[in-house]
Amino acid sequence: MQELVLIQPGSAARSELVREAAQADARREFEERLAECGPLAYRVARGVLRNTADAEDVAQEALLRAYRSFDRLRDRSRFRGWLVRIAFRIALDRLRSAKRREQRDTLWSQPAHLPPPTTTEDIAVSNQFQGHLERALEELPEKLRLVLLLSAMDGYTIEEIASLVAVPAGTVKSRIFLARKKLAEKLRCHANTIKTR
């Protein structure tokens, strides 16, 4: 006659199972946000770094950091703003590296990165003007730069940007206005030079 023995898992094994289940939940929850927020992190990094390879590195790093600290984020609805700030901060750190700066400038000088100009307005947005614009953007204060980059992205309203950077909508508007004015002051002479050619 065969005996059946009921083996109950110990408390350690049970806690291990609970822990694994919690990790699987966290991973699944993070994966759901990854498809939506990954491009956002990349674009923020790209707006700061102006280099595709560096921006991809920074986006990966930001997403990994967010994943490792994902459990500490109590309010998961703030994930996008949190990720944007992480990506922006890493991108700024990367930008300050002189070695990376040289590499980026070299890559950026290649015209293949820009779409070919077609209309009169696109002529103004030439390689030369774009280069000046990127440098002027780099000189902007960080607060203004982040808000301006987000406002230029497709699909983000003032209210969404306000929630991303955790400031009132009025502050976002004033920052955008101030940033555009500063850029215009820096680029006015370059625009005139391009036009007179």
């Binding site: 822990r19 919690a22 990790q23 966290a26 991973r27 993070f30 994966e31 990854l34 498809a35 990954g38 491009p39 990349y42 674009r43 790209r46 707006g47 102006r50 595709t52 921006a55 991809e56 986006a59 990966q60 997403l63 990994l64 994943y67 490792r68 600290s69 994902f70 459990d71 500490r72 820009l114 779409p115 307005e121 696109d122 103004a124 947005v125 003007f129 774009q130 614009l133 990127e134 953007l137 301006l148 980059l149 987000l150 230029a152 992205m153 497709d154 206005f177 555009r180 004015k181 850029l183 215009a184 680029l187 006015r188 625009a191 005139n192 036009k195």
Partner: protein, 232 residues
């Protein structure tokens, strides 16, 4: 060149993207240079917006998400810091609480001594020697340690409290009168001898009388037998 008076207003209008209103609109209708400057400003802001749009909406490389997923597989899962280490944190909290309680008790006991404990700290005004337990020989008041004599209870007190009066006064020892006389005599002789020794260093040939200590004179006890009728 635009008119100076309207230059800032032109830039503001171009930056906001709104159509000029009121006085500026009327001025633009009649001023060719300002109209031209306004068109240039609008073109400049349009160029800036187009450049920003191109920068901010760069195409996301298709390799981004697969690479992130691959790195997520390699990296450890997010640790539940607070729940995983609750045992360590609880132990640390208990230890901290116990340390704090012990320190509080210690501080309460020694910072606010009770009147009874204050009496034990302050030494008695005089120490009467007994046969079994002779008086302590001029114990240093600085060393407030536990004395070997049971007659004196010395408690180590915190330094911030005022020291007992023993620290500043000479201890007083009560002895019989004849012993007191002998001790006084001995002390005088000792002082003289000390002075003479100092003089002897200068004049080594000098003879000094020997120190003589008189024997203690104890009167004979007069023992008388009790009268039988008065005994109990």
């Amino acid at each position: 060149m635009p008119c100076k008076h309207y230059k800032d207003a032109l830039v503001e209008a171009a930056a906001t993207g709104a159509e000029p209103q009121g006085e500026l609109r009327a001025h633009l209708a009649g001023c060719d240079s300002c109209r031209s400057a306004f068109a240039e400003e609008k073109s400049l802001f349009a160029s800036i917006d187009a450049g920003l749009h191109a920068t901010s909406n760069a195409e996301v490389p298709p390799s981004l998400l697969p690479r992130v997923r691959a790195r997520l597989d390699e990296s450890p899962a997010p640790a539940r810091f607070w729940s995983a280490n609750w045992l360590v944190l609880a132990s640390a909290a208990v230890l901290l609480l116990a340390s704090f309680t012990a320190y509080s008790l210690w501080r309460t006991r020694f910072s606010n001594p009770s009147p009874s404990s204050a009496q034990t700290i302050s030494p008695p005004p005089s120490v009467t020697p007994s046969k079994d337990f002779p008086a302590p020989a001029l114990a240093s008041p600085d060393k407030q340690s536990l004395s070997s004599s049971p007659n004196t209870l010395v408690v180590r007190a915190p330094m911030r409290h005022p020291r007992p009066t023993l620290a500043t006064s000479t201890p007083e020892v009560i002895v019989p009168h004849d012993e007191e006389l002998l001790l006084t005599n001995y002390a005088q002789q000792w002082r003289q001898r000390k002075q003479l020794l100092l003089v002897a260093e200068a004049a080594t040939e000098t003879d000094f009388p020997l120190l003589q200590v008189l024997p203690i004179q104890i009167n004979e006890l007069d023992v008388k037998p009790l009268v039988e009728g008065k005994s109990q």
